[in-house]
Amino acid sequence: MSLWQVTIFPQEANGDLWARQIEASVRSGILGLKTPALQHFSIASARGFLVQGALDEQEIERIATKLLCDSTVETFTLTKPLHPAQGEVDNSRAADEDSGSDVTLVTVLPRPGVTNPEADSALQAIRLMGYQPLAARTFRQYRVRGLDENDVHLLATKVLANESVEQIEFGPIRLQQLTMDADYRFQLTHIPLQNADAEQLRTISARHQLSLNLEEMQTIQAYFQSLDREPTDIELETIAQTWSEHCSHKTLAGKIEYRDENGVRNFNNMLKETIFAATHSIRKQLGDSDWCVSVFADNAGVIKFDDEINLTFKVETHNRPSAIEPYGGASTGIGGVIRDTLGTGLGARPLCNTDVFCFADPNTPISELPPGVLHPRRVMQGVVSGVRDYGNRMGIPTVNGAVYFDQRYMGNPLVFCGNVGAIPHRHSFKQPQPNDLIVSIGGRTGRDGIHGATFSSAELTEASERVSSGAVQIGNPIVEKMVVDVVLQARDLGLYNAITDCGAGGFSSAVGEMGEAIGAEVWLERAPLKYQGLSYTEIWISEAQERMVCSVPESKWEAFHELCESENVEATVIGKFVPTGQLTLKYGGHEVGKLEMKFLHDGRPGTVRRAEYSPAPSEPLTGPHLTSGANFDPRQDIVSLLGSLNIASKHWIIRQYDHEVLGRSVIKPLVGVHNSGPSDAAVIRPRLDSRRGAVIACGMNPRFGDFDTYHMAASSINEAIRNCVAVGADPSRIAILDNFCWGYTDRPSTLGSLVRAALACQDMAEAYETPFISGKDSLNNEFSFINSTGQRQTISIPPTLLISALGQIDDVAKCVTMDFKQAGNHLFLLGQTFPELGGSHFSLIHGLQGGRVPQVDTTSSKQLFADLHQAMLLGWIRACHDLSEGGLAISLAEMAIAGGLGCSVDLGAISVDLSDLPTAERSLDHYATIVKLFSESNSRFVIEVANEHREKIAEHFAGRLYELGTVTDLKSLQLNDGPRCLVDVDVETLRQAWLQPLDFGNEYAGESRADKEANHE
C-alpha cells in the first residue's frame, strides 16, 4: 500500500494563471499585509493529487502521464508525502537560492470528508485504466516568496484556503493515509427529559444544537411524559428539524399580534392571511381562466404556460453557509434550488437560474472588518465562483440577477438562488402510495451538513466560522446532473409516485414530509455512506448534497433500479411508506425512534409573537450637498451614479455564467450593440419548438425600507413587474415570489417591519392581479461580535425583500430591448415623476438624509402597464427601459451606452408637483431639476419610438407621456432643462465610468506580446 504525491507544475511562460490571480488580490491591498515592501513578494502555484493504493512507481508514473498531467502545458514530479512523525527539522522556510529571500511552501487540501469531486473523478478514471486505487485527494501547493511568517499565515488563511473546509500545511505534506473509515459501534442514546426543569430543557436544546425554545421543549417533554418514556437522540433531532424555522416557517406562518398607526391586528397565520390570501382571491376572481396550478404547496410554485407544459419557479436563500464558505455556500445554494425544481410535482426540468446577492462594499479596508468576518471581496468572488461552477456544470443558464451593496451585509451576506423549470401538465402533482418503497438516489450520505437546518435558523457570531463548519458543504454538480438525467427519464416511464429533494434536514425532512399522511419505516443502516463510522442519527439528519427521495411502487423498483444503474446513479431502498401514521426509525434491526406523524407535523406549540411598527417620521431632504446651488453638477452626478456599486455594470459576474446553454435565450442579460447594456429582464423560450417566451426579472429596494417597509415592498413589486413589462411580458400573466430576509424577529419592531411589508405584498398582488406562487424567508440575519473595546456589537441586515417575477409573452419576436436603436427616433417618458428622493441613489452618493420614499399608485400604473404592452404588440416601441436606481438620468445614460448612440433631451416637458413639500425642501436650488433627473418614482419608463408611430403613441398614452427629445448619432448625452444646458457628456466617458468599478478581471489586456516574447526565449 503506498501513498503517492503527484505534483503538477505549469510550464508555459506566464502559464501560472492561478498564482497571477492571487498576486492581483494581494496587491489590491485588501489583505492589509504588514510586510513593509511587497516588491519582493511573488507566488508560484502547483496543483496535485494524492493517490493511495497498491501502485508501484511505474504505475503511478503512467497514471500521471496519461491522465493527470497535460504534457503540452505542464510537468510533474512524483514523491511520497512525509510520515507525520517524521522530520522534526522545519524545512518549511528555506533560503531560496534564486532570489536570496525566504520561500515558504504552503499546501492546501480539502479536509477529510469534505466532498472532493475532482478526486472522485480521478479515482474513477484511474480505475478505467485498470488499476485499483483506494482513495485520492486533490491539493494546491504554493511557493511564497518575500513575505514574513505572519503575512504568509495571513495569506494562507485569508486567500489561499478556507479553513472551514480546507486544511493548510506549511512545509512538505505530512500524511500517512487518506482513507478515513472508522468503526461504528451501535449504542442507542436516550436524552432524559421527563424530570428536567426549565433551565435544564434550555441547556439540552443548546447542547444538542436543536434551536428549540423553552415552550417547544416543554411540549416535547409533555409528549414523552404521556408515552411514559424518554426520547432517543434521533427523535429529538427529528422534531428539531421539523420544527425548525428553516423547515416550518414558524414565525411568519405563526400567530402574530401586530400593531401599527392603524391599530392592532391579530394573525393566526400571518402568511396565510396576507400573501396566500391575495393569491387565493385572485384565483377565485379568475375562475375558469385561473392560470395558477400549484401555489405554496410543493417545492416550487407552478403556473400554466401553454397547452402542454407548466412552469415552476422557486427562489431559495443560502445566506449563512455563504457567510462562512462563500464558494461552497453559493454552489450548494444553486444545487439546492435546482433540486427544488426536480422535486416539484413528479419532477420538473430545470430551465434557468436567477441569482441575487447582497454584499458589503468589496473595497472595504481590512482594518474595518469585524473579527471573524470574511472580506466582502472574498465573499463576492467566492459566491460568484460557486454559482458559476455549479450552474455552468449543471448546464443551466444563469439568465437574471442583481447585486446590492450595503455595509450592513458585512457579516451576513445574502445569497438568493432561483430556478425556473418546465413540467408537463400530467406530471404536475404527486402522491406517494401506502407501501411504496422509500428510495434514495444520487449522492452518498456523509457527515457533511449536519445541523444545517437549525444552524440556518440561528444568528451568526464571530465563532460561527469555527463551530458550524459541519454545516458548510461543497457540492458536486455532476452527480446532480446525473440525477436530473435519470429522474426525468424515470418520470416519463412512470416509475415512481412521488419525489422530493433532500434539503435542510436531510432524510429526516424529506421522508417526514412525504410520509406525513401515510407513515414510514426507515432502515437507516441501508443508506449508502461516503465512509463508515456514522451513527444512525447522523445518517438521518445529514444534509449531504445531491440526494433525492422517491416513492417507488415495489412492482416498478426493478426497472427504476436498472435505469439508474445504466447511468451510474446510485439508488437504494431505505424504507417503506407503511400505513401506520407513525414514523418508525430502525438501525440494523433495532428500533431507534418512533414518532406519531401527527405530533411531528401538528404538535408544535403556537407561540404568539408581538410585532410593532411605527413609520419613521417624515423629514425634509437635507445634506450639505443641497445647501448651495453652486454644488449642483449634474454631469458629475451622472458619472458618480454610473460608477456607484449598485448601478455599475455587473459584466464581470454575468460573463462568468453561461447564460445561453440549453439554446433558449432570447433576451440575454447583456444587450445592445456591444452586447453590454443592462437588460431589464431575461427572456427564454421554454420549448425549443415554440415561440412562446418566459420572462424573468426581479425587484429589490432595501434602502427604501429605512423609511417604510410598506413602500419598500410595494416598490419592489412594482419594479419586478415593470422590468417584465419593459421587455414585453403580458402584465396580466405575471407570477411573483417573495423572499424575506430580515433581522432578529423576536424583536417586535423587527417583526413589525416584516408584517408591514407582507401587508404591502397583499395589497399590491390584489391590485395588480399578480399572484404570489411561492416564497421563502430567512430570519435572524444578524452578526454579533466583540469589538476592540470588549463590547458586544450586533449588525443587523436592513429589511430585505426580494421579489422575483416570472412573466410570459406569446411571441418572443415582439420583445423589446433597452438599447437606443436609431438616431432620429423620438424619446418619451411614461409615468408620473414625484419629488421622491428619499432612499434614492442620488441621496446615497451625496450622503443626504430624509426626503420622501417612492410610493406606488396601483390604479394608474396597472393601466400604464397594460397600455405599454399593447403598444409593444403593435410594434410601436423600438426601445424601452424602466426607471429605477438613479432615475431618469441613469436610464437615459444606460440606453445610450447600450445603443452606442447619444440623445438630445429637454426636461422642460416633464411636470413635477412640488407644492405639498416642506418649504425647506421645495426652495432648494435646482430642486425641480434634481427631482426630474434623479427621483426614483415608481411606474416609469423611457420609450423610443420611430417617427411613423409618434402620433399614435401620443394618443395612446395621452396625459401620461412627456416628450423628451430624440436619439442622436453624436454619441453624447445632452440634457437640457428648458433653455439651460445641464449636461453634455461623451457616452464613452459614461461607459467607462459604468464598466470599471466591478471589473476584477482586466489583467488580461495587452498580454499577447509578452507571451509571444516569452515563448520565443
Binding site: 491522465l67 456544470r393 455532476i478 438599447d819
Partner: protein
C-alpha cells in the same frame, strides 16, 4: 441517403445534447441522444449512424482537465471504431467540450510517439467566459465549413486556448489545411476581411517559409487581443479538422445560433437574419445527399 442519423453522445455532465440534437433535426437529420455507457459497452452501435456529435458540457465535471476523462474512456474503448467510422466516409463533430475530447483523444491530431502535440489549455483570463465572437474560416478541407466565410457565434468555456508543443506542429497543421476556424475581427471591418482574404488567396504573406496562412494570421504568436481572441489561442485557432476534413472540433457553439432571436442584439437587426450556426449543421447533412 436523404436523412442521415446522428448519434449525439452524452456523458455524465454533458449539457448541450438536447439543443444540439434539435439543431440537427432542424436541418433535416434525425438525431438520437445516446449515453456514453451504451457506446462503450457496444461500439458496433456506430454502424447505425452517419454522424457522431460530441456536444458541449462538462463531461465528468471537466475534472483533472476539460474533456480528459471522456477522452481517455474513448481512447480505451472505441478509438479504433471511431477511426473506422470516419474512414468509411462518416462525420464526427465536437463542439466545445466535444472539441476538447476530440483533441485529447488524438482523433483530430494523431499523437506522436512522445505523446500529444497540442492541447486546449486554460483561457488566458483564467476564468470561464460567455461571449460572442467573430470567426473566419481558413482554407481547409473541413466538410462542415464548405462555403462558409465568416460566422458570429458564442463561446462559453474556461479551457479553450489552443497550444502546441512547438511551432513545427502549427506549421504542419496549417500546411495540411487543418486550421479550419479562427477568431477574427468583426466581419463588418472590411479592411480586416480583405486582409484575411488576401493573405489566404495570394499566398503572398507567408509564415515560416512557404506555407499559406490560415485565417489571415501572419504569425501564430501574433494573436488578436482580448476579447476578439477570447482565450489567447495560438494562431487565433477556434476550430480544427483532421486530415480527412470529416472530423471537426470547434470551441464556439453553432447550436446556440439557429434562430434569429438567439443573436445577442437581434432586436437591432432585420427580420430576415438567420442563425449562422445553421450552416455547419446543413453542411453535415448535405454531405450525405
Amino acid at each position: 441517403m436523404s436523412k442521415p442519423k446522428v448519434l449525439v453522445l452524452r456523458a455524465p455532465g454533458t449539457n448541450c445534447d438536447e439543443e444540439t440534437a434539435f439543431a440537427f433535426e432542424l436541418v433535416g437529420a434525425s438525431a438520437e441522444r445516446v449515453h456514453v455507457n451504451r457506446l462503450l459497452d457496444n461500439p458496433r452501435l456506430l454502424s447505425d449512424y452517419q454522424i457522431v456529435c460530441i456536444p458541449g458540457g462538462f463531461s465528468y465535471g471537466d475534472d483533472i482537465a476539460a474533456g480528459r476523462i471522456l477522452a481517455n474512456a474513448i481512447m480505451a474503448k472505441v478509438a479504433d471504431e471511431l477511426r473506422a467510422f470516419r474512414d468509411a466516409g462518416n462525420l464526427i463533430l465536437g463542439i466545445c467540450n466535444g472539441f476538447q475530447v476530440l483533441i485529447k483523444s488524438g482523433l483530430l491530431i494523431e499523437a506522436s510517439p512522445n505523446g500529444f502535440e497540442a492541447t486546449l489549455a486554460w483561457n488566458r483570463s483564467g476564468r470561464f467566459e460567455d461571449r460572442w465572437v467573430h470567426l473566419s474560416s481558413g482554407q481547409s478541407k473541413c466538410v462542415f465549413l464548405q462555403g462558409v466565410e465568416s460566422l458570429y457565434l458564442p463561446v462559453a468555456h474556461a479551457e479553450g486556448r489552443f497550444v502546441v508543443n512547438d511551432e513545427n506542429v502549427f506549421t504542419r497543421l496549417s500546411a495540411n489545411g487543418q486550421v479550419a476556424l479562427c477568431y477574427s475581427l468583426a466581419a463588418a471591418s472590411a479592411s480586416a476581411k480583405q486582409f484575411a482574404t488576401a493573405a489566404v488567396n495570394s499566398g503572398a504573406s507567408n509564415w515560416g517559409s512557404e506555407h499559406a496562412l490560415p485565417c489571415g494570421v501572419s504569425d501564430p504568436y501574433e494573436i488578436l487581443p482580448f476579447p476578439h481572441n477570447p482565450n489567447g489561442s495560438m494562431g487565433n485557432v477556434a476550430g480544427l479538422c483532421d486530415l480527412t476534413g470529416r472530423v471537426f472540433g470547434l470551441m464556439p457553439h453553432p447550436e446556440r445560433f439557429m434562430d434569429r432571436t438567439q443573436h445577442p442584439h437581434w432586436t437591432r437587426l432585420k427580420e430576415d437574419n438567420v442563425g449562422d450556426g445553421r450552416m455547419i449543421f446543413e453542411n453535415a447533412v448535405r454531405a450525405f445527399d
